[in-house]
Symmetry: C2
Subunit: 187 residues, 2 copies
Amino acid sequence: MAPRGETRERILRTAAELFQRQGYHGTGVNQVLAESGAPKGSLYFHFPEGKEQLASESVALSGRTVGAALTEAVLAAPDGPAGLAAIGDHFARSLRESGFTKGCPIATVALETAADNDTIQAACGTAYDEWLRGLRAALRGWGVPEDRAGPLAALVLSSLQGAIMLARVQRDVSVIHQVTRQLADLL
Amino acid sequence: MAPRGETRERILRTAAELFQRQGYHGTGVNQVLAESGAPKGSLYFHFPEGKEQLASESVALSGRTVGAALTEAVLAAPDGPAGLAAIGDHFARSLRESGFTKGCPIATVALETAADNDTIQAACGTAYDEWLRGLRAALRGWGVPEDRAGPLAALVLSSLQGAIMLARVQRDVSVIHQVTRQLADLL
DNA sequence: GAATTAGTAGACCGGTCTGTCTAGTCTGTG
DNA sequence: CACAGACTAGACAGACCGGTCTACTAATTC
């Protein structure tokens, strides 16, 4: 038997990746189980509320993971333009390396469930709020005035999200760099 | 019996709306049939390739519909900032009036099918390309230099797409206006 | 070492999925 | 009127869906 708590994590990580690639309705719990190697009983033991809980926690996990990676990239950057470029590079690399199957880990699920599932939607909202807070802090650190940091963070997050989606559809990351370069000019 | 050709259109329009709200995998053909009042035989007569064809044509239809609405809004605007505001208003109104269930009619399907369905993905790519062309033309009309119009159109489309998604998740359209206002400042 | 708890294992269930098939009905044409 | 093609109509099929259930095994506690 696998060590305590390991199965839960394996299920969750597998689910997060599948939801990122295929979305909520495109991913079946049976597929999550097959790829993680866990039996069905374990899933409903660790996630008694089923697929909905699995998706909510996957979104939260992805949000934290990406948030941490972005924070790291931002802290390592000497100035704003470099920081924006680093963020863009992060997503561009993820897209390229996955054959354009791994874009934003939250967007697909967020759009699919926005109309009919408050629980998952709330998890998506929380994740985006955290990213926004991180971005605001980074912008202030780069010398953006207090009252401009909020709207600018929203613009940066919006355009990045849109660019990641367009890049995925066009199978070409150049739109991401195009966008981050223009955002850098704004700083 | 319904007049010739009417059933096909009714199915298509119903499908387009359901795909917009619920995405590809979240929408069943049975639901499309129930809401359009058509029998199953008619669907597979008019769309012999089934759900995939239905989605491709729905995306194309939505692309043309929204594209036309945007062109109209743009042509009616006296200058760039007003045009951007009009575009933002269009999506913001659609979101508000539908209780935040109708965002971009293409984005959800595009993200869901990007990884595993080339046909639908190509239809999404075509629709976005048309929007981009329209935006480029509008920007040039507003006095943006030739070499800046391309990247700027990409930035406008990206940030709009992202803003529509964020607005849907947060159930608040203000991010859309925040974004269009900052884009207007760029012109 | 017995009892208890935590977790694994997968057969099974009702329902829903997309898609097929046959039968029937309408409409335009000679 | 007869006929042909266009279209409607929905029963049906097989696969798969999320979720439940019982049986089991490993680890912990007394």
